[in-house]
């Protein structure tokens, strides 16, 4: 066991640190969503020009080809310096890696570079109003006529749909096949009249997500990723990339929030409050356990080549600790903590989605019970 960085890892860390210190633009502007998005798009362009945008992507596709440990170092440094997120997160973390893993050569040539530069934003059309945790029951259907698929249905919880050029879309192409087998993975052009995007206002008041309504939206047959009917497997890969790619970023976000909470407590002169001390220490311990568990999982993935179902623990921890942390902070902040527009009231409300988005805690617990502990299929 050796947690020190090797000389080459330390060199990589120094390089990342130096580049970020010289180049990151500070916090994104608040209050104007469109302006914030453009700010992050410009930041992504800058990262791309220096080769950092596709940190995990292979070099032949314009990425950095970084090892898992280098990616962790990179994400930790992004968090430490509080650098903003790039604009095209879903394209970088899911869309691109899926095209690289399952796409044809011509698809790689067409899609990858604009993902890296932030020129073309990607969104993800998986969940539907009737298909949340039971994603494979999805009903959006695609029918092929004269070399073109026509897609009809509704998607929900689509982040960035209003900014996106492309949508990673799951649709049913075989009504008779078993539910996991009749699904195909498409790349849908969002820029067409038969695709309607409606903002979905959340309990925070903002509309970070959208609904997508498709009425015979057209997808050329060349825009299928993988095999027709093989979309479920491709989708699983996407979700695996999501969990692996966002884990390290999530830990750093929590560590920053914890610093903010401690600062808040000090500013109120409450650092001697024994109950607060207990709660903060429990959160800090949990967040540190999550960080270390992530590093242990990373070591295992380096050895075996595939992330294990243990990654579900990290997603569960993140939801639990972020909710606990923001609840505590909004309470300590007093009236301001429940005032519309305040930072803590926003973070507090936003965290309620953490145990739902990207896999509910209940589904994660099912995965752990069945696939890690070997219990029978749960019902």
């Amino acid at each position: 066991m050796d947690l020190t960085l090797t000389p080459s890892e330390a060199e990589f860390q120094a390089e990342v640190r130096e580049w970020l210190e010289a180049n990151h633009p500070g916090p994104a502007p608040e209050g104007d969503d469109a302006a914030e998005f453009e700010f992050r798009r410009a930041w992504q362009r800058k990262m791309h020009e220096a080769g950092w945008a596709g940190i995990s992507w292979p070099e032949e596709y314009g990425g950095k080809g970084a090892s898992l440990i280098e990616q962790a170092i990179f994400n930790e440094e992004i968090g430490r310096q509080r650098a903003p997120m790039p604009a095209n997160v879903l394209g970088l973390v899911m869309g691109g890696p899926v095209v690289i893993a399952h796409g044809r050569e011509d698809q790689k040539e067409r899609y990858l570079d604009p993902i890296l530069s932030g020129e073309e934003i990607w969104c993800q059309g998986f969940s539907e109003p009737e298909s949340g945790s039971d994603l494979a029951s999805l009903k959006t259907r695609a029918v092929k006529a004269n070399g073109t698929w026509k897609v009809t249905g509704q998607k929900v919880w689509t982040t960035y749909a209003h900014e996106a050029k492309w949508c990673m879309l799951l649709a049913r192409t075989d009504q008779d096949a078993p539910k996991h087998k009749g699904i195909t993975y498409f790349i849908l052009d969002m820029d067409q009249p038969s695709v309607e995007v409606r903002p979905l206002r959340q309990i925070t008041g903002e509309a970070e997500f959208n609904e997508i309504f498709m009425e015979e939206a057209e997808v050329p047959e060349g825009n299928v990723i993988g095999e027709v009917g093989g979309g479920w497997q491709v989708a699983i890969t996407t979700l695996m990339f999501e969990r692996a790619g966002l884990g390290a970023v999530a830990v750093m976000g929590l560590k920053r929030s914890l610093e903010d909470l401690i600062e808040l407590i000090r500013s109120k002169g409450l650092e001697g409050d024994p109950i607060l001390r207990q709660k903060v220490a429990a959160l800090q311990t949990g967040i540190e356990a999550m960080r270390l568990g992530g590093l242990r999982a990373l070591t295992m993935t380096m050895k075996t080549g595939i992330p294990g179902p243990e990654g579900s623990l990290g997603k569960w921890q993140w939801a639990q600790y972020n909710q606990g942390l923001t609840e505590l902070a909004s309470e300590v902040a007093g009236p301001e903590g429940v005032t519309v527009g305040s930072d803590w009231s926003y973070r507090f409300l936003r965290s309620r989605a953490n145990s739902i988005e990207g896999g509910t805690t209940e589904v994660l617990q099912n995965i752990i019970a069945e696939r890690v502990l070997g219990l029978p299929r749960l019902r």
Partner: protein, 332 residues
């Protein structure tokens, strides 16, 4: 960076699992618990393997390995719930190594490492004493007195054996501090003890979880295995979360003790606090999975459950460890 055991460490782990698994089967644990005794011959074998002195330097008669290796052994010892004076002896040796004078080290460390002597540790601060583990049979004890620590031959201590609910280990309380002061870095020794206890608790939690999961697969009610109900399956998933958090924090703290001492105080407090909670919650939750049978004297789970609980009376409760975490994290 490699956050996993290297080949030698893996071998230590599998040797320990095999040795303890064959020597301390549950029926042996029960036999020793019911007679509230240790098996001197088995401890001699443990000492011959070099375990009590695994983290003691070679010049002091030990193996010259580190905290990571000791943690591996203690996790396995907790997994087996092995009754033996290993924790008291290896624990005392940790503090003497960190804080003892040359004379104190040369007097006690070779004997503790070879098994010729056994050790103990505990606290007598401000009338709020803690349990001294393994003291009734020990030769030497580290006595924390609120200001630091003293080192005393057990025969110099005024102690009272305590019949704790954990019959797999002997305990005592000490009425007054006595002995020679340990002048070195007592805090470093105490932090290592916290990690040692966390390691044993991680093993206890692991075993309690495994027992519960195995039972949940086999036990049928209403026509299906109880492990197929989400109420039971999610309970088991929560056990895994607690045990893995405890393990990650403990391994990191052990590594910090060996390689990055400035990170040890916070890491040790986190590890011990979390491990105490996780081992207790996991074994209590396991009892719930077993239902009525888990509440009977004839069921073995009680040994793990009780050892998990009594651990909070040795070197501080989760509440005390968390307060230390707060103090070390910017809350003063």
């Amino acid at each position: 960076m490699n956050f996993d055991f290297d080949d030698t460490q893996q071998e230590i782990k599998s040797t320990a699992r095999n040795f303890l698994g064959s020597r301390f089967k549950p029926e042996k644990v029960r036999e020793l618990a019911e007679s509230r005794s240790y098996d001197a011959d088995l401890y001699r074998q443990i000492a011959e393997l070099g375990w009590p002195g695994i983290a003691v330097s070679e010049e002091d008669g030990g193996q010259g390995l580190g905290m990571v290796e000791l943690v591996i052994l203690l996790e396995e010892s907790g997994y087996a719930c092995a009754p033996s004076p290993l924790l008291g002896s290896a624990g005392a040796a940790l503090v003497i190594s960190a804080a003892g004078s040359d004379a104190q080290r040369s007097e006690w460390l070779p004997k503790l490492a070879s098994g010729e002597a056994t050790g103990s540790f505990g606290g007598v601060a401000d009338g709020a004493g803690t349990l001294f583990c393994d003291l009734p049979t020990a030769d030497v004890a580290v006595v924390f007195d609120g200001e630091g620590a003293l080192l005393a031959p057990a025969s110099d201590l005024d102690f009272e054996p305590v019949e704790s609910i954990d019959a797999t280990r002997s305990y005592a309380t000490v009425s007054a501090p006595a002995g020679e002061r340990l002048e070195g870095d007592v805090d470093a020794g105490r932090d290592r003890l916290a990690v040692a206890i966390a390691a044993e608790l991680t093993g206890i939690g692991q075993r309690a979880m495994e027992m519960a999961v195995e039972y949940a697969r086999e036990r049928h009610q209403f026509g299906r295995p109880i492990g197929a109900y989400q109420a039971v399956g999610h309970r088991c998933a929560a056990m895994l979360l607690g045990v893995e958090e405890s393990r990650s924090l403990t391994y990191y703290a052990a590594w910090a003790a060996d390689a990055e001492p400035e990170s040890l105080p916070l890491a040790a407090a986190m590890a011990n606090g979390r491990a105490l909670d996780a081992a207790w919650e996991t074994s209590a939750s396991a009892l719930q999975v077993f239902g009525g049978i888990g509440f009977t004297w004839e069921h073995d789970l009680q040994f793990w459950l009780k050892r998990a609980r009594v651990a909070r009376a040795i070197l501080g409760s989760p509440r005390e460890h968390r307060d230390r975490v707060a103090a070390l994290s910017g809350l003063g």
